[in-house]
Every structure is written in structure tokens, then in C-alpha cells.
Subunit: 337 residues, 2 copies
């Protein structure tokens, strides 16, 4: 989706990645199919492009490090490194005044017992790296769950997070330009199924003050990371109306896909504009409401023809090879009014 | 733009054409760079794809003929042939009850003198093939202009068209599905500069009855051509409120580019839907008004940064190599309300 936004602005995206048939490869003007560790390929890539961005925060930091200094990277290594490590992420969020749930670093079973004593149960034990879509985490409900969860989750260290009795999950997406300018979209309300984002609703069904606070928090994150590009912040809304940050994604985010069809300038176009040094675009919404539904696995595949036949659904299919269980294959934006 | 619409629906467009770096090539999942006359390349292409369409009615009919029978072609040879020949086009339009300006076929200077005597002057002498953007035509104001114009314009035969004292130029775009279903967009009002489309406005600044009649006429054309895909009809509005057809384009049309950003389903997505056998999409407009401005030649290039910085402009740049005078390099959609 970023490559298409770039093409529409006249750029010629060159996609680097290990999968020859990935969705981005299918619409790229140029392609390098290589491992993230292939230094020669990275150097050739750096020489072939004007600016580098990424769409996947699990790109190895060493890959970006091999590019930085050779070519402008937006976002840079700082944002990537913070977002690849849950401990660094939590420390960063606290440092910029964005509240998070209580947490403890867990290097050992002893740490875990102490953390449970501090935070109470239930609590959520998470890997610090490579977690997404609910992978790499375990809910601990009783002390007896702790040892097996510690053994199962890898790599260590882990992090224990206090259980947050939230009423809603929200996220907001901000774009930050090379000149520090900022464009922040409305917050969306997100509903998950099986740990995977299922639906995002805009406007969010929460008090306006909470939705505005969500926008302020993601802006603070973008500033704090000195990020050039797009960043999303996932948050929990508590019964008292306050927000806790859950996770940062330093890239266009699934919960911002509603912007493609409900806004004149999508999160993908904002990302391209920021990375290319263009002025940011507007964030206003032209549909009275929009519901973004993910199409996941075989059930998502089965639902596709029905959505294609609906007059109110704008349909996006990613061109992935296999409809595996749990895999995001596409999404639809249902526009109202 | 069609290739991107196809990619978004999960298709893998394979672009065939003579230019390695054409705009469509830059976003295609697969590419065949070959001459339209390369029979081997056409046969390999036919074997590689499920369905063929075209975006340029000056593709040689022989090229489409080499594909038909090997693979489904939508639109087919009938629509292409009618639209490649102004005489066939006028006969077709009259046959389906779509009025055109008075015209005469001109095979010789003698024909031309007789035609001038019939239609009067001024009149417009046009090539019957390969004309677009005002090329291949001459306005005759005096009998003395006739001989030089006949000699200059080629190939023969030509056609002389009576001068039409129109008040507005309109066009409308229809999509017709493989099942005969139809989706017709609102008519646009078109303003030309130097024979090239400059601006399209929706809603058109004409009486509602004329705008509705424009939609009815393009639907009649789509039916009459038994076209599967998208077709545009350019029309003149006369002072008495009646419409005369000027030209058919059996493909997404420049005057329909407003649909990309002002509608949930653009003319390009309709084209892909029709060609792929999917249900057609909605044609409703979500912006109160839209102005499509072409970016043409060096002046268009110079205007680009200003439009990119405007909050109300959705910007499209085609990625053509050179900003030659008279060349359409991109367009912007200015959305109001």
C-alpha cells in the first residue's frame, strides 16, 4: 500500500525483502530479493535509492545499520531499536510522559516470582522482541502458570505487565515530516479476535476527551522518537477515562487502514510524503463513519466475494500466496454517509 | 491506474507494451516489453494471463485479433474496431440512436468540395484514425483552406464534420459487466486548452436534464458495443439543450479521473471489476464537488509542488520520463466539501 501511494506521487519504489512474491514486490518499480543479512545486496540497494524506509519493525536493526551512513533512512535506527524491544519501548514511553501499565523486566524465574509479587495476578508475560498479533505472550492467572510460561517464551529477557482492566482499545496514527511538522489522524477503536486486530471503528465509541488524548499521546511518541514517517500507538482506555500505551509501531498500521478510503490522504501517502520530504497532507475524514474489517485466513477468503458485491465496502486484497489460518489477507473499509 | 486498481483487488496485472518504463510497467506484477506486432510475444502473453484488456484504443486491431480466441479479451475487437475509425464510429453512433454532428466521408479533394458545399463552413476536417488530443484535425474557415488541409492530414480517408456551436463539452463514463449490468457515473463538464483536456468539473455546470441525457447516451453506447469494461463518451451541449456525441473512448478516460478520489469505486476499479467478471461497484460521489486539473508539459511539472502542498488537492503523477510540451504528466483532483 505504501508502494502504490509512492507510485501515485510519481516515485519509483524499490522494494528490498526476502520474499520474491510479497505484496510490495508485486507493485514495485524495482525489486531486490535478498536476505536482510546480505550485505552486498544492501550496499547495492543503498546505492540505487534516494531514501529508505521500512514497513515492518522486525527488520533486523543490523540491516538498517548497514544502510545508515550510505543513504538517508526514515525512520532511522533509533525508532527501530526502541520499537524492537519492549523494555526499551516502555522506558522510552515513560521518558516522554506517556503512561504505560506497570511492568517488570524478567531475566530469570526468580525475577518472575518477584514481579508477580509486585504486580499481582493476573498479569501478562511477554517476549521483549518479535511479538505481534498476540504471539509471544502468555496470560498468567495463577503462580503455578509462571514457570512453564517462562520456559516456553523466548528469547529472554521477558517482561511482565500488570493486567489492565481496560474498557476499550484505541490507536492513533501520526505522521511527522522531516521539518518536524505533524499530521495526526483521529483515533480508532480497535476490536481484536484471537489476539489479532479484527475491526477498527472511526469515530471511536469513546468520550471525545479520550480520543483527543490518544492523538496527543501518539504525537508525543513521534516527537520523542524524532521519527520521520508514520507511527501508530496502541492504547488501552481505563474505566476512569485515562489511557495507557500498549505498543508503538513505527510504520503505517493496520488500525489506520481506514484512512485509505475515508480520507483524501491516507496513512500510506503521509508516510511517503514524510519520507520523501514533501509537505504532509490533510487528515480530515470525508465519510461520516468508517468500519475497517480485516480479512483473516480461510474465513477472510470466504468472506471476500460478499464484500466485493456490497456497494458500501471498499475492498483490498494483498495478493499473498496462501490463505493460512491467522494470516491477514486483506481488509475492507465500510463507509457510512 | 488500472494496474493499481487491479493490484488492490488482489489481481496480478501483467502489462504488455513497447515501452519498458511506461507508467503501467512501473506498478505491474509482470511485464512483457515487446512490439504490438510481435506474434510470439503476444502468444506467450495470451498463455500467461486469464483475461486481456487495453487502455489505449490505438493498440493495433491486429494485436487484439492475435489474442482473441486464445484468451478472453474485454473489450473485444468489435469495440476496438469501431473506436479506431471515425467513420465506423459515426455510423455506429447513428445506428444506436446517439446523435452526431453532420458529417461526410472524404476520400478525395472532390469529396471535400462536395462536403463543404453540403455542410457549409466553418467545418472540421479530421483523420479517421489515430487522432487524439486535437491531433489530426484542421478547422476549415474558407474554401481556400481545403486543399492544403486535405494534403496535410493523413492517412486518408478523412471526415468532414459540420461546425457545432456548442455551449459546453461534456463526457460521461459507463462500466458494463460481463452479465450486462451497468454502472454510469455522473457527467463531467470538460474544458480544453490547445485541444487537450485541461479541466473536468463535477457536477457539470449544465441543466440537470442535459447531464442525465449524457448518462443515457453513454449507456446506449456501452450496450450497442456489447462492451465489457469501461467506455467514455465525449459530447457537445448545444444552445437548445440537445447533445451531440463527439467521440467514444473504449477505456477509462481522462475526464473520469475525478472518480479516483471523489468516489469509493473509481472508473479504474470498475474497469477491472468488469474485465474480471466481478460485480460492478457504486458510482456515487462523496465530495460535494470535484475539479480535475490535468498537469501538462513543463507548466504541469512546475505546478506540481504547489498542488502537493495544498490540503484540498489529491495528486497523481504518472512517472513518465520526460516533461514534453503537451504531454499529460499527471493530474490533481481538487475536492470541495
Amino acid at each position: 500500500m505504501s508502494a502504490m501511494a509512492a507510485a501515485r506521487l510519481g516515485f519509483r519504489p524499490h522494494v528490498f525483502g526476502p520474499e520474491a512474491d510479497g505484496p510490495g514486490m508485486q507493485v514495485a518499480a524495482a525489486r531486490t530479493v535478498a536476505a536482510y543479512e546480505d550485505a552486498d545486496a544492501l550496499h547495492r540497494f543503498a546505492a540505487a535509492v534516494d531514501v529508505v524506509t521500512f514497513e515492518f519493525e522486525n527488520v533486523p536493526a543490523a540491516t538498517l545499520a548497514a544502510l545508515e551512513g550510505r543513504v538517508e533512512c526514515r525512520p532511522g535506527l533509533k525508532a527501530l531499536s526502541v520499537c524492537q524491544d519492549r523494555l526499551a519501548e516502555k522506558r522510552f514511553l515513560e521518558s516522554v510522559g506517556v503512561p504505560v501499565a506497570p511492568w517488570r523486566a524478567v531475566h530469570s524465574p526468580t525475577d518472575l516470582r518477584a514481579a508477580i509479587a509486585d504486580l499481582g495476578l493476573p498479569a501478562v508475560l511477554k517476549t521483549t522482541r518479535m511479538g505481534y498479533d498476540g504471539r509471544g505472550q502468555a496470560v498468567l492467572r495463577a503462580p503455578a502458570d509462571a514457570e512453564a510460561a517462562f520456559a516456553r517464551l523466548a528469547p529472554h529477557p521477558l517482561v511482565l505487565e500488570g493486567f489492565v482492566p481496560f474498557t476499550h482499545e484505541l490507536s492513533a496514527v501520526a505522521a511527522r515530516g522531516a521539518d518536524g511538522s505533524m499530521a495526526v489522524y483521529e483515533a480508532s477503536e480497535n476490536r481484536h479476535a484471537g489476539g489479532i486486530l479484527d475491526v477498527s471503528l472511526v469515530p471511536a465509541g469513546v468520550p471525545a476527551a479520550a480520543a483527543e488524548e490518544a492523538r496527543r499521546l501518539v504525537a508525543r511518541v513521534a516527537e520523542g522518537l524524532e521519527l520521520v514517517g508514520v507511527v501508530a500507538l496502541e492504547m488501552f482506555l481505563l474505566p476512569d477515562g485515562s489511557l495507557l500505551a500498549n505498543e508503538i509501531a513505527p510504520r503505517p498500521h493496520n488500525s489506520g487502514h481506514w484512512t485509505i478510503d475515508a480520507c483524501a490522504c491516507s496513512q500510506f501517502e503521509q508516510h511517503v510524503r514524510a519520507v520523501a520530504g514533501l509537505p504532509l497532507g490533510p487528515v480530515s475524514r470525508h465519510a461520516a463513519a468508517v468500519e475497517m474489517r480485516n480479512l483473516i485466513g480461510p474465513a477472510g477468503l470466504a468472506a471476500w466475494p460478499g464484500f466485493v458485491a456490497r456497494g458500501d465496502a471498499v475492498c483490498h486484497w494483498y495478493g499473498k500466496e496462501e490463505a493460512r489460518e491467522g494470516r491477514k489477507l486483506g481488509h475492507v473499509n465500510l463507509l457510512r454517509g
